[in-house]
Symmetry: C2
Subunit: 209 residues, 2 copies
DNA sequence: GTATGTGAAGTAATTCACAGCT
DNA sequence: AGCTGTGAATTACTTCACATAC
C-alpha cells in the first residue's frame, strides 16, 4: 500500500475501467491497450496509463494489459472483495426508496439498519429493514458493525443526523440533503445532490452562445 | 456576458452560495462577508471571492456583500429566471421515479414528454406525462421545444437513446445509465451515477489507514 | 513494430497575501 | 479598522513525448 495521495478523479475512473474490463472479460477479449481502453471509456490513453500506474505496473510493453489480471487487480485495489454495512437515517420518501434500491447490494453494501425520529414508525419494517429509534443508534451501529451512514433527512436535520452517525462510529457519510455538512477531517463525506446537477444544466442552457 | 471560461466547480459552488444567501435573506440578514459565507458553506473566503469575482464586483470593501443584491445577481447569472422543457427516455423503475420527482419543477425544469421502446406502454400516462413512441421523438422534441433529455434506459441502449435525443435537437443530456456516452463537443452531458458514489465509499473504507 | 511507464511540460484550480477602497 | 478584488505563488491535474521493454 503506497503512501502517495490518490485523487478522487482517479478512483472514480478506476471504477469506469473496471466496468469496461469486466465487459471485455465476458466477451473473451484477453488483452487491451491503453489507447483502446481510453477509446471505450472516452478518456485518453495517457490518463489510463497514469491512473493505473499509480498502483503498480500491470501492463506488458508492446501488447497492452491482460484483461483477466487487470480485473483482479482493480477489484483488489477498489475493495470490491469486502462487504460493508450501511445505516439509513430518515425513512421518508427518499429513505424508503433507498431501502428498496438494489444498487447497494450490487456494490457489496448491505443496508442493515434504518433510523427515524418519528416514534410512530419505530418497530415497523421497510423493505425488510427494521426502523429503530435514533436513541438506539450508538448501540446498533456498534453491534452491527456499520461503517457507512446515509443521510436522507431534510436539510435542517442533516447536520445533526450526520453528527450522531459519526459519534456512533461511522466513518463515511453519504449525504442526500442539499446542504453542506461540516465534519471532522477523518470522516469521508459524499454529497449526492440531484438538484445541483439539474441546476447546472439550466446554467449551461442559459449561457450557451 | 464575459468570454472567459468558467469552471464547473465554480458554477456548482455558485448554486451553493445562492442557497445560503437565500436563507440569509429570509432571516433578514442584510450583509455578509466572504469569510462568513465561506464558513457557512464549508469553503474558504478566498474561493468565495474568486468565484464571485469572475462575474463582476458585487462586494463593498470593508463591509462585505449585500445579501439582497447578491441573490438577484446570482439568480441572473445562473439562469434561474427561465424555464426549460425536459424529456425522459425510458419509463422503467428509474424513469417512472423521475417522472414523479418534484425536484424538476422546483428547479424550473418542466417534464413535458416521455418515450419508451415498449409499444405496450405507449399512450399510457405516468405522473401525468404521456408516453410516446421513440419514432415520434423528433417531432415532439421540436413541437414542445425540449432542450434537456434524460436518459433512463439500460446501459446497452443509452448511447442510442442519447444520439436520438441529440439528433432530435436537445443540447443537454442528463445520463443515469452507468456508461460513458460519446457525444459531440457542443452537447452538455451530465452523468448521475449513484453506483459510482457508493463504490467510492467502499474504496475509502478499504484503504483508510 | 507496438505499447507501456514515467519524467518533463503545460494547464487549471486553489491558496496566499496585500494594495486599495469604504 | 475591516473586507474586497486580484496578481503572484502554490498545488493539483492533464497531456506530451520518449526511453525502454517485449
Amino acid at each position: 500500500m503506497s503512501t502517495k495521495k490518490i485523487s478522487e478523479g482517479t478512483i472514480s475512473r478506476l471504477f469506469i475501467y473496471l466496468r469496461e474490463i469486466t465487459a471485455l472479460v465476458r466477451m473473451n477479449i484477453r488483452t487491451i491497450s491503453s489507447a483502446e481502453l481510453g477509446e471505450r471509456t472516452n478518456l485518453t490513453d495517457a490518463k489510463v496509463r497514469k491512473d493505473l500506474g499509480q498502483f503498480g505496473q500491470f501492463g506488458v510493453s508492446g501488447s497492452g494489459y491482460d484483461t483477466g489480471e487487470l480485473k483482479v487487480a482493480l477489484e483488489r485495489i477498489l475493495g470490491k472483495d469486502k462487504t460493508w454495512n450501511v445505516a439509513v437515517v430518515g425513512t421518508g420518501q427518499l429513505g424508503s426508496a433507498l431501502l428498496a434500491y438494489p444498487g447497494f447490494k450490487q456494490h457489496k453494501l448491505s443496508v442493515v439498519a434504518a433510523f427515524d425520529a418519528d416514534t410512530k414508525k419505530i418497530g415497523k419494517k421497510i423493505s425488510g429493514v427494521m426502523i429503530d429509534s435514533i436513541e438506539d443508534m450508538p448501540k446498533i451501529i456498534k453491534e452491527k458493525k456499520i461503517s457507512i451512514g446515509v443521510v436522507a433527512v431534510p436539510s435542517e436535520s442533516a447536520q445533526d443526523a450526520a453528527e450522531k452517525l459519526v459519534a456512533a462510529g461511522v466513518s463515511c457519510i453519504l449525504n442526500f440533503a442539499p446542504t453542506s455538512l461540516s465534519m471532522p477531517e477523518k470522516v469521508k463525506v459524499k454529497d449526492v445532490d440531484l438538484s445541483r446537477e439539474l441546476e447546472t444544466l439550466s446554467y449551461f442552457l442559459a449561457n450557451k452562445r
